[in-house]
């Protein structure tokens, strides 16, 4: 009898451990088991950029609006990576930081007349159509929410990072979970509406 119970316990423990190992949920990029801040198992990989751009200094300490550099977000499907002359427009005039290593690197690219080969961090699959304009127009311009919050819905709190890292799942279920919520139509009203739930709105 005792042996049987012991056997059972062994088998049970094997089953528990093996099923726990097998039941690894769907991972999209990133190391297995890395969690996003809202509980999704999909923390993006660390992307090495040519210059370790400090978002925390620009957007965090200086409080520069995200759309000063990512200027197309409000009027186009893509938000856009700023051109080198955008960086130089300010940094030509900021003498105090010109001797920093990252700024020196920036000037090197400028002297060589080469664009900085930034790498994409938030990369959606090719069959998905995401429109920055519609989201920015709705939440930033109509609902009048702070820009750090609006961009942060999908990008996380970039203003506390140096180079950006994907911290949201950017999966379909995650998109839909927000589209199903009631959102105010504009700042002054109490009228709400959902995001579209039609397949062809996002799938192309």
């Amino acid at each position: 009898m005792k042996v049987r119970v012991k056997n059972c316990l062994i088998w049970l423990s094997i089953w528990v451990f093996s099923s726990a190992a097998m039941a690894e949920p769907f991972v999209q990029g990133g190391a297995i088991g890395s969690q996003t801040e809202d509980g999704f198992n999909a923390l993006g990989p660390v992307v090495e950029q040519p210059i370790e751009f400090p978002h925390n200094t620009h957007a965090g300490q200086m409080g520069i609006n995200c759309m000063y550099c990512h200027t197309y977000a409000r009027r186009s499907g893509v938000s856009g990576i700023p051109r080198l002359d955008k960086c130089m427009g300010c940094h030509n005039l900021i003498e105090s930081v010109k001797d920093r290593p990252r700024i020196k690197k920036l000037f090197e690219y400028w002297e060589k007349k080469e664009p900085i080969p930034w790498k994409k961090v938030h990369d959606l699959p090719d069959f998905v159509r995401f429109n920055h304009e519609r989201h920015i127009q709705r939440f930033y311009f109509k609902e009048d929410r702070p820009v750090r919050e609006v961009c942060g819905y999908c990008h996380g709190d970039i203003a506390s990072m140096t180079t950006a890292r994907r911290v949201k799942a950017l999966s379909m279920g995650w998109c839909v979970s927000c589209h199903q919520k009631e959102h105010l139509e504009s700042a002054g009203t109490t009228k709400t509406s959902n995001g579209p739930n039609d397949c062809w709105q996002c799938h192309k």
Binding site: G77, E133, Q137, N197, C199, W200, H203, K204
Partner: protein, 281 residues
């Protein structure tokens, strides 16, 4: 569809579709008019569709098996002129551009086992490639035979390097095993709708057209928004006494407008204008 959406729109989901004035208060219902009298059968629409929608050229062998992927095709019919072939060799040919009719009561939608094809709020019959498992049931049930199946993995063959650079980034490149069909160039529609919405208006008539309508040298194809009374398409439909939600309607015999296989009660979104022929001459 979420439960809250189901509860919220219960009354509209319970009715038989399509019903009269279904799109009266809606912003969009995309529709088309094709004037067969103007169509010369030049195939420019087909070519434009291939370019816009990343359609692969399948090659001679697959084509002969009927596996061509043309979302819009020119069908040839030989009419009364045939007897006079000796005198006027080309007289009898009639052309009919056939594309997805974007039926309001689409036979393909109801049979899909995985819900890969369904109806969008602006009256399109959508096809979601990610969801399609390739049962081909929709194609079997389509009376117009305008659904095309990817029997092979075409992309590498159809666009060898560097031809992949010609692909339209707004349209998915389909892989083997999925069904595809005319989308009324939904990528253009979505973009136009987004732009209009930012500016707080409705898409104007003629602001967005499908690739086939854009390419047609004789303007035989008219595309527009049926929910907008003043659009060219809506006015033609009204002039031809065709209503979206009725089949076999009573109308003036002299009118040229008709919808193909209306008796099947598919309620297509495309009106064809019959060719005017002078068989005496």
């Amino acid at each position: 569809m979420s439960l809250s959406n189901l509860i919220k729109n219960w009354s509209s989901l319970r009715v038989k579709r399509p019903y009269e004035d279904q799109y009266k208060d809606k912003d969009y219902k995309w529709a088309m008019v094709i004037d067969l009298d103007a169509c010369t059968g030049c195939n420019a629409c087909t070519t434009a569709c291939y370019a816009e929608n990343n359609l692969p050229v399948v090659g001679r062998e697959a084509f002969s098996k009927g596996q061509a992927m043309h979302w819009i095709r020119i069908e040839r019919y030989w009419g009364e002129g045939e007897e006079m072939k000796g005198r006027f060799p080309d007289r009898g040919a009639q052309f009919l551009p056939m594309l997805c009719q974007q039926c309001e009561s689409a036979p393909c939608e109801v049979v899909c086992p995985v819900g890969a094809t369904h109806h969008t709020p602006d009256g399109l019959n959508s096809q979601v490639y990610n969801r399609c498992i390739g049962s081909r049931y929709c194609s079997a049930n389509c009376p117009y035979k305008v659904r095309y199946f990817n029997w092979w993995q075409y992309p590498e063959r159809a666009w060898p390097n560097p031809l992949e650079l010609q692909l339209n980034p707004d349209v998915t490149v389909r892989s083997k095993g999925v069904m595809e069909k005319c989308t009324f160039c939904v990528q253009r529609l979505t973009e136009a709708k987004g732009r209009a919405r930012t500016e707080g208006r409705r898409v104007a008539d003629g602001e967005v057209v499908t690739a086939c309508a854009q390419a047609c040298p004789t303007s035989a194809i008219t595309f527009g928004n049926l929910a907008d009374d003043k659009s060219q398409v809506a006015r033609t439909w009204e002039r031809q006494q065709i209503k979206l939600a009725s089949d076999r309607q009573e109308k003036d015999e002299n009118l040229r407008g008709y919808r193909i296989l209306e008796d099947l009660r598919t309620y297509p979104s495309i009106v064809y204008m019959e060719r005017v022929r002078d068989s005496e001459a």
